[in-house]
Amino acid sequence: MIRQLFKFKGGIHPPQHKDVSTKQPIRAATLAKELVLPLHQHIGESTVPIVAVGDHVLKGQKIARAKGYVCASVHASSSGTVIAIEERPIPHPSGFSATCIVIETDGEDRWIENTSETTPYTEMPASHLRNLIRTSGIVGLGGAGFPSYIKLNPAGVEIDTLILNGVECEPYISCDDMLMRERPEQIIAGVKIMRHALQAKRVLIAIEDNKPEAYAALAKACATEGFEVIQVPTLYPQGGEKQLIKVLTNKEVPSNGLPVQIGIVVHNVATAAAVHNAINLGKTLVSRVVTITGDGVAEPCNLDVPFGTPMQHLLDQCGGLRDDVDRIIMGGPMMGFAMHSIDIPVVKTTNCILAATKANVTPPSDIMPCIRCGACADVCPVELLPQQLQWFARAKEFDRAQEYNLFDCIECGCCSYVCPSNIPLVHFYRYAKTEIWAQEREKEKADQARLRHEFRQSRIEREAAEKAARLAKKKAAAQGGGNAKQAAIQAAMARAKAKKTAQGNAPKNTDNLSESQQQQVNKADEMRAKAQQIAADRRAQAQTAMVNKTVKANSDNHTAKDEKE
């Protein structure tokens, strides 16, 4: 049966260069002396180490436990001794360092004793399966590294389709291709477990038509399973989850939404093989197939690499780097990032190490002004207007960029690829996204500060009110006690006043003044009034200054507190 396929808008056909690395079968990488295992190798929260420096660990032993929901454990990828838990450079576009567990291998590569249950997966409840997959450290091996157990939870939705993604649309990368050719039975065994966990009605396995050997191998391996293996026409970025779903089912995953909302779950083929190893064989995720390719290495190939192996070690194993290597890219040439050094470890999301010479990548050329040709919009798989987004990013009109759905951009690079003016469009979008995130963080901080301030104000007011109430109460109490005394004093005062009035209290010598005398008196009065006015002004000023100072001191305290927090 030939399935009807659909199209997502846009896409490009970059040169493939897959055959560079598919000439040899997958080989096991040699064991490095030192394995560097970052605590954070996936999307989500970091793990917590459960070993200490000096501990001896076995291959497959859990060395860091998952914390939080979006997280997956980390395991020792060979046997040896933990020699450090410290900051080491990790694979990151910015060349960051992060906490890693460093293991000095003992060369025995001894597995931890298999304590897995003998119950077949078909008899395990789905939640138990998911927990096993979580503690086995399995994350999406396609490149994003999202913890897989979450994507095996139907969350109350009836799953119609489980899609297995063997598209591998990025140029140069061939690790999934080789895995499908050589280990199709592992993949199929994994799919069966995934299907069981999801209770999916049907399984579609999608492979681009530039991988006929992989297609044949998988089709043969699942001939009796009722899974549908589909060849899809090669088109970048078809391996994107939402694009692949559109091609196979004509359904669009809502923006900001997940495929599971429309009853579809997509997993990578390598993830399926990892699930099989974990559930059927009790082996935690400790290695993956990595493509080492590009003209920068002498012998491009695919290696089965224990996590934590330094990239330098792998490149040496492939005949070493050539002198004219220009950049080393983790991932493919379209979405991968160029690394600052090769002294960093392979992690769960490392699908490819591309040692590119100048001839392998496009040499830098002049960036011309945008001629508004619209080629970018024609190839955008998300149907955005890359040209307009670029104008907004350049003008720092981030509101408008968001209005034009900047955050739907998947950074696939199609727009940059076709731009005749050679504008680094994706770079502009990353810049705009980063700026927006920074602004949001700032705003959040300001909101929190404002809330704290308001709370403090209300507390001060409340306290002041309470104090006033207390005083008033006290005063009232005092008045109630001394009424007789007060009355006596008042009576005395009234008598004195009456006496004074009877005498006439005006100064005697100011009556019948001459004109000049009167003027003098007036002048004196005037000066006195003026002096009083000046004094009053000064008092007011001093008060204002005082108040200002206090307010400033308060706000200073506040800032200091924010920083501390």
Partner: protein, 344 residues
């Protein structure tokens, strides 16, 4: 080891601005050759003069604006402006007319606005309209198709006329010139003749005037090649020619004596050249797919309105410039629905 760390993608396709512009230039060559074959050397002289002027002015302006001369001079955009203007102006026009129009286009319509990519109006059409308004006499002095004229100028005679205004003895100017079919139509309709009476004249041979339809067909071939090469999209030409054909058909049906046929409108004057080469200018036109359709419809309708009821026999330049003004607004209201947003 020093590693390069630019941001992704690390691949770039083969397209460059220069390649795009050169393809547009190549696509104009068949039209230019046919034009020259039908109307003589004046066409080639026009085009070359415009190219020299455009490149010189472009270099001068880049220098004045402190922009890299070599990079921008080789982008091909000045070449395309020159080709379009050279082909739009009457062959055998005096040299200063070409010079003024081209220099004005490059300086005022392009560089004053910020150069490549920043001009809101099509530079060639700005130059054309400036000349049309300032020098109406020279701008309407069209040579007769060679097949209808006894007097032919050789290359050197043509050069002598263009640069010095000297005609060889025995050839009078009015033997060389003849009103265009669109011009004749406009003038004679004003004299209360019917279309049938007017088109009996020999210049109306074929569907759109002797020679003119072949010129249009040559431009059409070049334009289709550009669509095939994905340099332009089909939206603008289809919308412009479609709307021009439709509105002329409506009036032709109402009163065939006063309004000429859709075929005449499509194949005479600059309709085809305008549809594939001028209204498709990406910089000054609409950029979304739906926007380009509205843009093309606007150009087609305005062309018809100005041709039929306006003061000028052909109207591509005015129609394009008017729609250039509307392009940003059109783009604003024709944003395509985004993937995963439920369509619109």
């Amino acid at each position: 080891m020093l590693l390069n760390t630019p941001s992704s993608p690390h691949f770039h396709g083969p397209s460059t601005v220069t390649k795009v512009m050169l393809k547009v230039a190549y696509a104009l060559i068949p039209g230019m050759l046919i034009y020259s074959w039908l109307f003589g050397w004046g066409v080639i002289i026009n085009v070359l003069l415009a190219i020299v002027t455009a490149l010189a002015t472009e270099a001068l302006m880049l220098r004045l604006r402190h922009r890299p001369v070599k990079i921008f001079l080789s982008d091909g955009s000045a070449l395309v402006t020159a080709l379009l203007l050279g082909l739009a102006l009457p062959p055998l026009a005096p040299w200063w007319l070409i010079f003024l129009g081209t220099a004005f286009a490059i300086i005022f319509a392009k560089h004053i606005y910020g150069g490549l990519g920043f001009n809101p109006f099509n530079p060639a059409m700005v130059g054309y309209v400036m000349l049309l308004i300032s020098f109406p006499l020279e701008m309407t002095n069209w040579p007769a198709p060679l097949s209808l004229s006894d007097a032919h100028l050789t290359l050197s005679q043509s050069l002598a006329y263009v640069f010095g205004g000297n005609l060889p003895s025995g050839i009078r100017l009015d033997a060389l010139t003849m009103a265009t079919p669109l011009d004749t139509l406009k003038t004679n309709l004003g004299l209360n003749q019917t279309i049938q009476e007017i088109t009996a004249s020999p210049i109306f041979g074929g569907i759109a005037g002797t020679g003119w339809q072949w010129l249009s067909i040559a431009f059409l071939a070049g334009g289709l090649w550009l669509i095939h090469k994905k340099i332009i999209s089909w939206h603008v030409p289809a919308a412009m020619l479609g709307s021009l054909a439709l509105i002329s058909l409506v009036f032709y049906i109402i009163d065939p004596a006063a309004y000429s046929s859709p075929l005449f409108h499509l194949f005479s004057g600059g309709a085809i050249l305008g549809a594939f080469f001028i209204a498709t200018d990406p910089v000054s036109g609409a950029t979304t797919a739906r926007g380009r359709i509205y843009f093309g419809i606007g150009v087609g309708l305005l062309t018809y309105v100005i041709r039929s009821w306006g003061g000028y026999p052909d109207a591509i330049a005015f129609a394009v410039l008017l729609m250039n003004m509307a392009a940003p607004t059109i783009d604003h209201y024709t944003r395509p629905p985004v993937f995963g947003h439920g369509g619109k």
